[in-house]
């Protein structure tokens, strides 16, 4: 299959118009010695039916979460995706458009991004939201760099209860810029505020936290903010947007920047990508935040219209002095999130959040009835994920659960050697009581 429209006759006419006798004449600027003499060593081309067959063969080698019951979370979630989301976001007008640099022809996407920004502000309570980042991890890293740049401070402090992958990404970004990263140990499943206080200093640019954190537990956000304020540092909170259906918005705690993973807002898990990083902040960062933003204005006839704005922060204009190097972002996923939030609306999102909360607690209680299964952080409030310790090896348990068409929780040993038999379990609104009972019963039999 070659998606080329020209016929050989048209090609010939075009070569004539150009004034060359053969196509190779157009390759004159390429030095002879680097022109490929042989074909690339690639598999032979496939016609459409063969292509679909081949991809299906690969897909069915995977165990997917439509066929199996999934209890994995940790940043990517099996939330319900209403049919309208992909039907609308997948439309060619949206999917096959470019970045809306020409606003007169791109009002549809621009207005959708404006609505997205508004919805992210509504969820988080923040003053402004950008048009998206790659994912929560890079959003967190960019937020840290923004704070460090603005305060001209070199140290970033992160709670170790932040997702270990996010922490690794932040470390990669900070290593490259010569900033230091200090990690605050956890106490009982949440950041240890005493340890945090010891690490804070006049050099601290910001504190990074996640709420609910990697373990699913709620953090003492106010405590972290109060501690950071004593040294004049900013606070960046990474949040689960679904949890904001019921949880207090981060702005209530006076955090400065809110980032998070928006995959759960109507986007597929997709083996972890593409994801949707959202980024919202206080108005004081208006000249400093990374990424695109859409604003309302008027056209020549005074009609309300939308356009990308505050453009002088961006790389194509400011080059090496830009606030970030980001260009391509995750617009189509932001559009899906917009449609999702509109389709669910106020009561829908409250309901999804409540269902997650109720089912996760039901599952946790039931699991902890089993002999040898215990909550690792008892008494710590949690949202849709929780950590239990098992009487045996969690990887082995997961292998047995797979035979029962269950994808079990995440063994935490690989991230936290001091939690050798711990498993992070996630229960979303897509799990029925029957599913949960089957899961608990299967765990009981497999232990």
């Amino acid at each position: 299959m070659v998606y080329v429209s020209n016929t050989s006759r048209e090609r010939k006419e075009m070569l004539e118009a150009i004034g060359v006798s053969r196509f190779e004449d157009l390759l004159a600027p390429i030095p002879e010695s680097v022109r490929l003499q042989e074909q690339l060593d690639l598999p032979p081309p496939l016609d459409e039916p063969a292509l679909v067959r081949h991809l299906r063969t690969l897909a069915v080698q995977n165990v997917d979460c439509e066929e199996y019951l999934c209890f994995l979370g940790a940043g990517v979630y099996d939330h319900f995706r209403p049919s309208v989301v992909s039907a609308l976001a997948g439309r060619g007008e949206f999917a096959t458009s470019y970045t809306p640099y020409q606003p007169e022809m791109s009002q549809g996407m621009l207005q959708a991004i404006y609505e997205y920004q508004t919805l992210i502000c509504a969820l988080t309570g923040m003053d402004l939201a950008n048009a998206s980042m790659y994912d929560a991890a890079t959003g967190l890293a960019e937020a840290a760099l923004m704070c460090a740049g603005l305060l001209e401070r070199s140290e970033v402090v992160v709670l170790r209860s932040v997702h270990p992958h996010y922490l690794q990404v932040v470390r990669t970004y900070l290593d490259a810029t010569g900033h230091t990263l200090a990690e605050v140990p956890s106490a009982e499943g949440a950041g240890d505020l005493e340890a945090l206080n010891k690490l804070l200093s006049e050099k601290t640019a910001c504190v990074l936290l996640q709420h609910p954190n990697f373990f699913g537990c709620l953090e003492d956000v106010q405590g972290v903010v109060d501690a950071a304020r004593r040294v004049g540092a900013c606070v960046v909170a990474c949040v689960d947007p679904i949890s904001l259906g019921i949880l207090r918005p981060p702005a209530d705690y006076d955090v400065d920047v809110v980032v998070g993973e928006g995959q759960g807002l109507g986007n597929p898990m997709g083996f972890g990508g593409p994801l949707l990083g959202f980024f919202a902040c206080k108005r004081q960062f208006v000249r400093h935040f990374p990424g695109r933003i859409v604003g309302a204005t008027v056209d020549r006839h005074g009609r309300r219209a939308y356009t990308m704005t505050l453009r002088t922060r961006e790389q194509d204009i400011r080059r090496e002095r830009a606030t970030s190097n980001i260009c391509t972002n995750q617009t189509l996923l932001a559009l899906a999130a917009t449609i999702y939030l509109c389709e669910l609306g106020k009561t829908g999102l409250q309901q999804v959040a409540d269902l997650c909360l109720q089912k996760a607690h039901y599952a946790c209680d039931a699991l902890c009835q089993l002999p040898g299964v215990e909550p690792v952080f008892p008494g710590r409030p949690f949202f849709k994920e929780f950590v239990v310790s098992l009487p045996s090896d969690p990887d082995q348990l997961n292998r047995r659960l797979l035979e029962r068409r269950i994808i079990g929780g995440l063994p935490l040993r690989r991230y936290f050697p001091d939690l050798p038999n711990a498993m992070l379990v996630c229960v979303t609104e897509t799990r029925t009581r029957e599913d949960i009972d089957y899961f608990v019963q299967s765990v009981a039999e497999a232990l």
Partner: protein, 500 residues
Amino acid sequence: MSGTLPLIFDQSRAGRVGARLPACDVPRRDPADLLGPEYLRDRLPLPELSELDVVRHFTRLAHRNYSIDQGFYPLGSCTMKYNPKVNEKVAAFAGFASLHPLQPEETVQGSLALLYELQCMLSEICGMAATTVQPSAGAHGELLAMMMIRAYHRHRGEAHRDVVLIPDSAHGTNPASAARCGFRVKPIPSNARGCTDIAALEAALNENVAALMLTNPNTVGLFETDILRICDLVHRAGGLVYCDGANMNAMLGLTRPGDMGFDVMHYNLHKTFSTPHGGGGPGCGAVSVQPCLEPYLPVPLIRREEGTSGPVFRFDYDRPLSVGRIHSFYGAFLIAVRAYAYIRALGAEGLRQVSENAILNANYLRVRLAEHYEVAYGNQICMHEVVLTAEPQKRRNGVRALDISKRLMDYGFHPPTNYFPLIVPEALMIEPTETESKQTLDEFVNAMISIAREAQEAPELPRSAPHTTVVSRLDETAAVKHLDVRYERLFCDSEPAAGD
């Protein structure tokens, strides 16, 4: 439908419901008891809509958005080619879309095999040793490359190399990505032919240079004919050469950056390999490297092992010199699926035809338009795109590149990229791509000829364009001055407490 479309928030009515969700089938407890009342919000200012409200609103927005599916989209440097529908179909397979990234390796062998094969195919296409698809975008790939170059020099005890050379024709992301890694940026001027000025490059090379970032073909659409010498000079000075692969659509199966001497490059899978741009993303900025940089690639890579019953694919985290992780998981997997499908559909011969037709189409436009517009840097053979300058139109008739761009909308075309590259005044950068036919190109040429005539005979027409779009030219200054980036009324209206 012209004019303003109401915001979705204006359509909200208290009590209206969209999605229908299941009732709670476990014993329900009071969230305040489970979490503590201090953790709960009392107000959630989201709209309340029916599903039909939502469908109508976003369908109307779609109608107000131009796309490749509707017409010619010759944005230079953006490679707006047709995005095959079959790729959307296969990316939606449950075996790909409904896969959790933390599932055990043995349950995702199909995905790992696909990623491994894609890594190999991308390495082959650009002539390099290894590839990661973890970066989420071209700029993310650039950033990763800069991180690896930094780590490479540090590892060799040359941490003092803190300068990155970048031609003045480069994309803005190049200097921004280099600066994001703490490098100082030194611009290299272009010569009278629109290519890198070798003398200026030689003068800039010294023991502090970490790398040269070069786009090839460059942003003027010209192949850097001195590329072998350029790479050699930088290598002799102890630096590495980075290829911005935004213009890879000109080189498939014809020539390879790895063979030219580049040490590292990024691809834009959303350009070259035809995954949809999605109105600004998602993309994938896969990065390929020569052996010297392979140890620094981010974790995890995908490794192939020979098992007892065939190959087994594993995540490779055992890379002690790696710069680390740059994405929450493994990058934009569903974009990788689409790019993989595209490459498998075309094969080696098909990919070569892509670049041949991209070059043919661009040169055809160049020759046809050269009679009516000035081609930047003299009418040389171009690669996959051609850059015009509207300087004569501006000088003679006060019609700028922006006016020509806006007027093209009235003819039903998306404008070319304008005012880039920065070294070309009044630039119009046109990339037709291989998927457009001569017929479409002729229609576009006719529109451009008409506009050239209008510029002379009725300059007010282009100057006040567009006339047929849903809105006319916007007041960009007002957008900054009276910043309005969220719908304030949503936050002002009094609303009953959540859960009431």
